[in-house]
């Protein structure tokens, strides 16, 4: 049967530990470690049962508590052999840290009172945008009409019109078909083929080189040309193949 337990939320392992110490009304300087550890672990088990994720800090503290519990079972070393004060009492560091946390927790509670009190006092809202608007620089166009503006623009407009040079820029047109035709033409008298690097006339611009390369690929696809390279770094030769097969492509463009 599903049932719900109300499990108070704790901000951290110290929060939980302090709660347990207060609930059990035990002396913080003489914490019954076994009892508190059992209750601490019990709380974690409840969290687990409720499928709540247990933050790693809680597990670290569980390990610390168990380590202290174990140490307290060991016989106390004679004072002259004690290396540090924790040999006297393994709880010492925990107690100090807890006390420091307790101070801060109490201070936080006090600060909260301050905060709540201050929340009851209101000031003018931060409305910097309004003030910026109020004190903005004067509008340099204040009082001018649309007619004033067009009148001012007219001479500029006329000068601009006079200075305008009309020119039509023709778009260079290069088609794949056209370039295919040129390639076929060049290859027709060269049964030995042409070195790839020399195939294109670079002085005609990049567009022709690109379209020419596309045309070459198309021609290779229909076997109108063959491509041969004798070794990895050797020159690539473009050799005429079934040139007639390329005619259709050339005539299309």
């Amino acid at each position: 049967m599903a049932y719900a337990i109300h499990l108070p939320a704790f901000d951290g392992p110290f929060d939980l530990l302090l709660h347990l110490i207060q609930k059990n009304e035990v002396d913080i300087y003489d914490i019954p470690i076994a009892e508190i550890t059992a209750q601490y672990l019990d709380y974690l088990a409840q969290m687990e049962a409720m499928d709540l994720e247990i933050a790693s800090e809680f597990l670290v503290m569980a390990a610390t508590l168990l380590a202290i519990k174990a140490r307290m079972l060991l016989p106390k070393p004679p004072p002259e052999l004690a290396e540090d004060e924790e040999d006297y009492d393994p709880r010492l560091k925990l107690v100090r840290d807890l006390l420091e946390y307790k101070r801060i927790k109490e201070a936080a509670g006090e600060l909260e009172q301050f905060y709540q009190a201050q929340q009851q006092k209101f000031s003018r809202p931060n409305d910097i945008a309004m003030y910026e608007h109020l004190f903005a620089e004067q509008n340099p166009l204040a009082g001018k009409t649309l007619a004033d503006l067009t009148e001012a623009l007219r001479p500029v407009w006329q000068r601009a019109k006079a200075a305008e040079q009309v020119r039509t820029i023709r778009r260079g047109s290069v088609s794949v078909g056209m370039m295919a035709g040129r390639l076929l033409e060049r290859l027709s008298g060269r049964p030995d083929g042409i070195v790839f690097a020399d195939l294109f006339d670079v002085s005609c611009g990049r567009l022709q080189v690109i379209v020419g390369f596309l045309a070459l690929l198309e021609l290779a696809k229909v076997s109108a040309v063959k491509v041969r390279q004798d070794g990895p770094d050797a020159a690539i030769y473009i050799i005429p193949g079934d040139l007639a097969a390329g005619e259709e492509l050339a005539s299309a463009g």
């Binding site: 800090e57 009492d89 100090r96 420091e100 801060i104 201070a107 936080a108 006090e110 905060y115 209101f122």
Partner: protein, 187 residues
């Protein structure tokens, strides 16, 4: 002389009326062109005159500001329903550590709370309640955090010296720790 005083008072009242933040004495002197002593005197007078009003001249966060009478808060809430921004327990604890131990690193905060504080710190930074005040000269040069003027304003403090005393570490009893080992029954 009397007219000049009256004018300074009026001027200060106007400045404080439009301001949305505490105005430091120095700034008021700078804007009004009066000397600080005269401004302080005028402020004291304004403070007395507004004592019974719906809003009072309040010294806060290193400056002066008109703030409403806290008793009237319910009516302001009725009028505008301003959202109050709550601070979580974790945020208050972290803020308390920063306030009392500043400048302080994230690691020191984590150690006292035994919880990772990076998310909380991020939120406090975002709300300008804390700020980065430098770096610790040491391994990793970790960021040092401190409180801001906004912190003072949010908590109604004139300055950090107005923070309530940190509760005494219960030092007297600590000595008792060495007296006896725990009884076997405790373990």
């Amino acid at each position: 002389m009397g007219a000049e005083k009256t004018r300074l008072r009026a001027l200060l009242e106007a400045l404080l009326f439009v301001a949305w933040e505490p105005l430091p004495l120095g700034r008021l002197a700078e804007v009004t062109g009066a000397d600080k002593a005269a401004v302080a005197e005028a402020l004291a007078e304004i403070g007395r005159d507004f004592a019974g009003c719906g809003f009072r001249l309040t010294e806060i966060a290193g400056g002066w500001q008109f703030l409403t009478d806290p008793d009237l808060a319910p009516y302001i809430e009725k009028l505008y329903n301003p959202r109050s921004q709550q601070l979580s327990k974790a945020a208050l604890e972290t803020l308390a550590i920063v306030a009392y131990h500043q400048p302080v690193t994230r690691l020191e905060i984590d150690n006292i709370r035994q919880v990772k504080s990076d998310t909380v710190l991020g939120k406090l930074l975002e709300r300008s309640l804390i700020k980065e005040v430098g770096r610790l000269e040491g391994p990793g040069r970790p960021i040092l955090y401190g409180t801001t003027r906004e912190f003072l304003a949010a908590f109604g403090l004139k300055s950090l010296s107005e923070l309530p005393e940190l509760p005494e570490p219960e030092a007297a009893a600590e000595a008792g720790l060495y007296d006896g080992m725990p009884e076997l029954a405790d373990v």
